[in-house]
């Protein structure tokens, strides 16, 4: 009896540990599966359209005859919105992180941190909706434009949406700087600002680089808000006050109307591959920046 009990336990434990090992490597399997399935559906396009023609073609007319699948306008759309959002979010976000981590204290710090956490939690479709209702008419009126659905509106909203990522990761990086660095600077007669600017900030710089990269990743990947605000015109814009369409919005807006297995369907998956590769690179760079700090 005792013997059997023991064996049963051994068997159970063996099975559970096998399950744990399997779960452990699931993440790798999923990343591989994502790539395989995007490739499986997306590569079919390249039988009819060359890779160069796809990436650099300036005409995205997926449903005309003959259809044209050039995603350059979409890449430029994503790029314009991303650069705009980054220009807004990085200085403001990093400054907020410095304020929250180094200057604010007590209750104010907690309030500011919860404000940022709330922003991180608001679904992007809600922010897109609010943007449509408030930001878009405001941009139209202030800049006297025919429509407020522009790259500029998208950049403003996405800059706002990238804040939680940038602020929280930059704040972690600043907090990770040993207290004695700052104390030593203060003991030498530096003001608090001098200690922050000359000592703490440089020491946290690689973590802040990671924060910026992940913020950019967040902006490139954002879909719903950008689709609702930027006007969805697949043309290369001449100014930031024109409608644009991003890579993500194109997939979300058009997939519902495609025929499974058609060139259009494959083209949207091919855009998915482009996005997957871009975000993979961004995360890799952020990860390298973080580990660079560790050494």
């Amino acid at each position: 009896m005792l013997e059997r009990h023991w064996t049963w336990h051994r068997v159970k434990e063996f099975l559970i540990e096998k399950c744990i090992y399997l779960s452990g490597v699931t993440s790798i399997v999923i990343v591989a599966l994502i790539f395989i399935f995007l490739a499986k559906e997306g590569f079919a396009l390249f039988k009819t359209v060359g890779v160069g023609e796809f990436l650099l073609g300036i005409k995205w007319y997926p449903i005309s005859h003959p259809a044209q699948f050039g995603i350059l306008p979409l890449i430029i759309g994503s790029l314009v919105v991303t650069i705009g959002a980054t220009l807004i979010a990085v200085p403001i976000g990093v400054a907020s992180a410095v304020y929250i981590s180094e200057v604010a204290s007590g209750k104010i710090k907690e309030v500011l941190k919860s404000g940022i956490e709330v922003l991180a939690a608001i679904p992007s479709v809600v922010l897109g909706f609010i943007g449509m209702m408030t930001l878009v008419p405001w941009v139209k009126a202030v800049f006297n434009l025919p429509t407020g659905l522009t790259a500029f509106s998208g950049a403003l909203m996405l800059g706002f949406m990238a804040m939680p990522t940038i602020v929280s990761i930059a704040e972690d990086a600043l907090n990770a700087v040993p207290k004695r660095y700052k104390e030593a600077a203060l003991a030498l007669g530096a003001t608090r600002w001098q200690a922050i600017w000359r000592v703490v900030f440089p020491a946290a710089s690689s973590g802040i680089v990671a924060a910026v990269m992940l913020g950019i990743g967040r902006v490139i990947g954002e879909t719903m808000a950008v689709m609702m605000i930027t006007g969805n015109a697949a043309r290369i814009p001449t100014t930031i006050f024109e409608p644009v369409r991003t890579l993500t919005a194109t997939i979300a807006a058009e997939m519902g109307e495609t025929v499974r297995g058609s060139d259009h369907y494959s083209a949207l998956f091919a855009i998915g591959i482009v996005l997957f590769i871009i975000t993979f690179m961004i995360n890799l760079i952020a990860d390298i920046a973080v580990h660079h700090k560790a050494k």
Partner: protein
């Protein structure tokens, strides 16, 4: 150039404060505005009735139920997988190439755009495994999306359990799994719970992953099986604010408010659980 370092400090701190206000003030505006505009729409009928007249009247009941089913389905898949994966990384994994690769994969998964998860779900669950656009396909897609959240919070929770707890248990002759099961996991439970709630909140609010895998444009009935499509709150908000003309503003804001309340109250619960846990922690 300003010479006085104290004046310089004052200016710098004011600018930093200004930047923080620029981030936080719009958040307060968004919350206030949605509550103010959406509150009048919310009543018992709105929450418990089917939409009528092409979603221009009636309630949002099927969208609420749809989101509930999706969230439950997501947890069913993501929770065991995510927790076991976290256990593997903290308790079993050695510091080798494979572990490094797993961690890199998790970081990468956390950064994949949500619409790409939608494409993946469409490719593997809807088309390849022939689940069709269904609760099953949508839940699996959302589960994969929230997996990094659950794995990361589980790891943090397990890491916070002191090493000495494990050593004492192991030295008493308890096996490794039993130590994890009866000593480590119970102490890590609040942390894991926090991660679970955050994952639910994320799954409830996402639109892009469910666009092609489950969400129904207009389906004023409740699902009968996991192979049915459902309406979902975030997609419903998208539909009534961009695809259907002449929907009363009140209904749009009301839908946004319900979604916001669900997501934010989940986050609040997570924050409370975390705070309670920190207070009780004896080590």
């Amino acid at each position: 150039m300003i010479k006085n370092p104290y004046l310089k400090e004052k200016i710098a701190f004011t600018l930093l404060f200004g930047a923080t206000v620029l981030v936080v003030l719009p958040v307060i505006f968004v919350l206030f505005y949605i509550v103010k505009q959406g509150w009048p729409a919310i009543n018992w009928e709105f929450l418990t009735q089917m939409p009528q007249k092409g979603m221009r009247a009636g309630g949002i009941f099927p969208a609420i139920i749809g989101t509930l089913y999706l969230v439950l389905g997501t947890l069913l898949f993501a929770l065991p997988l995510g927790v076991l994966s976290g256990v593997y990384l903290t308790e079993y994994a050695r510091d080798n190439g494979l572990t490094r690769l797993v961690k890199l994969a998790i970081i990468n998964l956390a950064g994949v755009p949500s619409v790409v998860y939608g494409l993946f779900g469409l490719g593997i669950f809807v088309v390849f495994l022939k689940f069709g656009a269904s609760i099953l396909a949508g839940s699996l897609t959302l589960a994969i999306m929230v997996l990094p959240i659950i794995i990361t919070t589980t790891r943090e929770a397990l890491d916070s359990v002191p090493q000495s707890f494990r050593q004492v248990s192991l030295s008493l002759g308890v096996s490794k799994w039993q130590t994890i099961r009866h000593v480590v996991l119970p102490h890590a439970m609040p942390g894991i719970l926090t991660g679970m709630i955050l994952a639910v909140s994320r799954a409830a609010g996402e639109t892009a992953p469910i666009l092609f895998t489950v969400a129904a444009f207009y389906l004023p009935r409740l699902p009968k099986s996991v192979f049915d499509q459902v309406m979902a709150l975030p997609y419903h908000l998208y539909v009534i604010s961009t695809q259907v003309p002449h929907v009363k503003l009140e209904i749009r804001y009301g839908t946004a408010l319900v979604l916001l309340i669900i997501v934010l109250s989940l986050n609040l619960v997570a924050i409370i659980v975390r705070a309670q846990f920190r207070k009780k922690k004896k080590w």
